[in-house]
């Protein structure tokens, strides 16, 4: 493999990183309403560039390399694009374009309207996030990756507080401080690796690294730091307020894209840089946290009163799925033999989540804009008022459940096969059960929005059709992702007939289990009649919380108590002290498990 000279098409990688930043600087210079124009010129260019990189990668049939200034590592730095990087570049370009179309209604500055600071910042930050992510995907060494991650954080944090209210500023500050904590740990790990092996270039390091204390320490520190930035449970301290409080167009960027950067780096570290250092037991811990994230995130999502917070907690749960692949990269003997399937599944899941979750956040924002609120209990009639947005939300949810032919379905299928092959039956349970948890909040919202309102909805504000279509487009992309995957690199026999008895049975079981969970854990009974009159007065202080619990059966009372317990546990874990202690404990645990699990 040509790793030490630039390949054809390598310069495209540099262009993909540079273009968004050039656009951003141009936007700062031109200022005002020009920023949006720059962004709209940039988006098709960036998309074309991503397609160009994909074409070049297919033509070359190998990793694309670009040596900056012609200096080869270890002295110089290289940009490299392998399969995963190309897939993510393409997916991010697509999602950014979708979000850009959506944001035109919220942050557009038509002639005659005074330009606002929020709109100006939004377009600049969108371009910055894009550039930083492209750098994360193509960076060839761990230090450039550190810089890229910091750029991503600096671009992501202001997106949280675009609205400028005290609550969002606080959320942004918590996010920034906790992310900085994580990045110092990452940098410490990178420095230790440099001390041990004298290089930070990924292929050179992968050759040099051996399972020994310095590598274990470095991997443990870097993993813990990156988990803090990805907000994997129990380090999700900043995610719900940040993603729930930001404007919809910004939440979509944060939830769909920003967290994928640090996740991608965990994937790189474990599968590409240090496959020989990672141990099965540490991978089990990583996926164990993922399983806990799925359960806690989904249950707390069901307990939310506001649609945007439900979607934010759904992100907490979905981050869990992204980490289930790690133990399934190992075969029964503890060798990383199933690496490729695990990697493909992880990327599919990440892209499926990026597209579906962007669509869901946009849909939630549109519902808020049209109804003037997003209280889940008062969504009756929303489906009739906003059919396209509601459809986008539900399609996104169904895609995340892993119904054929969504990307999540294919990811689940690959992981189930790996779990069978390596005899790790417990992950089969988690994978199958997780879908039911996702189904639960999809069913909950479906029931709420399809209900007939007690009084006709009045005072609806019109929302942009373009925005609704952008949301639906992204959600549909997630639902059709596996078709694209088998048309591309994956074998076609992975997709079964969706109407075959087995698949249909699976899907129906998922929905049934989801309905069961939703009716057990939701705040109000699943099929309770729509509330009458001015409902806003009721939930100022949770006054009608769990209404009807007293006169319901023993089972419902028990499950509601359980739900409340989950909420309290979540609130406790999201305190600064618990979260930072969890971070340290996790770093220590990873170190210990890497040590114990090392081949003797």
């Amino acid at each position: 493999m040509e790793l030490w000279t630039s390949t054809h098409g390598g310069a495209l990688l540099a262009a993909a990183v540079l273009l968004p930043f050039v656009g951003m600087l141009l936007g700062v210079v031109l200022g005002g309403r020009q920023v949006q124009r720059v962004a709209f010129v940039l988006m098709p260019l960036g998309l074309a560039l991503a397609v160009g990189i994909t074409a070049a990668w297919l033509r070359e049939g190998q990793t694309l390399v670009y040596l900056l200034g012609g200096w080869a590592p270890p002295l110089g730095t290289a940009l490299r694009a392998d399969g995963p990087a190309v897939a993510m570049l393409l997916a991010v370009a697509g999602v950014v374009c979708g979000i850009g179309l959506f944001a035109r209604a919220d942050f557009g500055t038509p002639l005659g309207v005074k330009e606002s600071r929020a709109a100006f910042s939004y377009w600049l930050l969108l371009m910055a996030v894009w550039g930083a992510l492209n750098l994360v995907f193509v960076s060839g060494d761990l230090f450039t990756l550190y810089v890229a991650l910091e750029l991503l954080t600096f671009a992501g944090v202001p997106l949280v507080c675009l609205a400028g209210s005290g609550e969002t500023l606080r959320a942004a500050l918590r996010y920034l401080l906790f992310a900085l904590c994580g990045s110092v740990l990452y940098l410490l790990g990178a420095v230790l690796l440099y001390g041990g092996y004298g290089t930070l270039d990924i292929p050179l390091l992968a050759d040099a690294v051996r399972p020994e204390p310095i590598a274990w320490t470095a991997l443990a520190l870097m993993t813990a730091g990156l988990l803090a930035k990805t907000a994997l449970f129990p380090l999700h301290i900043w995610l719900p307020p940040a993603h729930g409080g930001a404007p919809a167009a910004a939440s979509a960027v944060l939830s769909a894209l920003v967290i994928k950067g640090s996740w991608f780096l965990v994937l790189r570290l474990w599968l590409d840089v240090m496959p020989g250092v990672a141990s099965v037991s540490a991978a089990q811990l990583l996926a164990g946290l993922g399983a806990a994230a799925i359960v806690v995130g989904s249950v707390v999502a069901l307990r939310q009163q506001r649609l945007k917070l439900l979607v934010a907690y759904s992100t907490v749960a979905q981050i869990g799925y992204l980490f289930l692949l790690f133990p399934l990269a190992f075969d029964a003997a503890g060798n990383m033999a199933l690496r490729d399937a695990a990697q493909a599944a992880g990327l599919l899941q990440a892209i499926a989540h990026a597209t579906a979750k962007a669509g869901m956040f946009m849909a939630a924002g549109l519902v808020y804009a049209a109804l003037g609120h997003d209280r889940i209990d008062d969504l009756a009639g929303a489906a009739r008022a906003l059919p396209v947005a509601v459809l986008a939300f539900l399609v996104g949810g169904v895609a995340l459940m892993g119904v054929l032919p969504s990307g999540a379905y294919l990811a689940k299928k690959l992981l189930l096969a790996s779990a069978d092959a390596s005899g790790q039956w417990w992950w089969t349970l988690v994978l199958q059960g997780g879908a039911a948890f996702t189904a639960a909040y999809v069913v909950l919202i479906a029931v709420r929005v399809l209900r007939r309102p007690a009084a006709p909805l009045s005072g609806l504000k019109p929302v942009s059709m373009l925005s609704q279509c952008a949301a639906l487009g992204l959600a549909l992309a997630s639902l059709a992702l596996s078709l694209a995957a088998v048309w591309g690199p994956l074998p076609a026999e992975l997709i079964a007939n969706p109407l075959s008895p087995k698949e249909l049975g699976n899907t129906l079981t998922m929905f049934a289990l989801g309905a069961l969970l939703a009716s057990a854990l939701s705040r109000r009974p699943l099929f309770a009649a729509a509330r009458v009159g001015d409902a806003a007065s009721g939930d100022e202080d949770g006054g009608d919380m769990d209404s009807g619990v007293k006169d319901s059966g023993l089972v419902r009372r028990a499950t509601v108590t359980l739900g409340v317990a989950f909420e309290q546990a979540d609130a406790f874990l999201r305190r600064w002290s618990s979260a930072s202690l969890s971070l340290l404990t996790l770093a220590a645990l990873f170190g210990g498990l890497l040590l114990v699990g090392a081949p003797t």
Binding site: A171, A172, L187, L192, G196, T199, Q305, G542, L584
Partner: protein
């Protein structure tokens, strides 16, 4: 004890103090100072490694110097962003408290 070992031990102490501060200090400004102390620990460690000449068995390794400068700039930028956010927070709420927002879902 060689100079490098002394440097490395100092780095450990700085990282430890920084971590402690990040966890127990409630005020965001103190957390920020703690982050900077922790960062300094990492930088000291890196310069000790440079003295050891880790890369090619040279007398001293120049690459960490270049990386360090970049890392310091990044830490500086992080500090600036945090202070700016903190000032905005005080401007709009009158306090600098990071205390948990009222239970999610209000």
């Amino acid at each position: 004890m060689s100079v490098e070992t002394l440097f490395a031990l100092c780095a450990c102490a700085l990282v430890g103090i920084g971590l402690y501060g990040l966890i127990v200090q409630p005020h965001p400004l103190r957390k920020l100072v703690a982050f900077n102390i922790m960062g300094s620990g990492v930088f000291v460690l890196f310069s000790a490694l440079a003295k050891r000449g880790a890369a090619a068995g040279m007398a001293a390794d120049p690459v960490p110097q270049a990386l360090l400068i970049t890392a310091i700039v990044v830490a500086f930028a992080a500090t600036a962003v945090t202070v700016a956010l903190l000032l905005r927070l005080i401007e709009s709420t009158g306090t600098a408290s990071l205390a948990n927002e009222p239970p999610a879902g209000d």
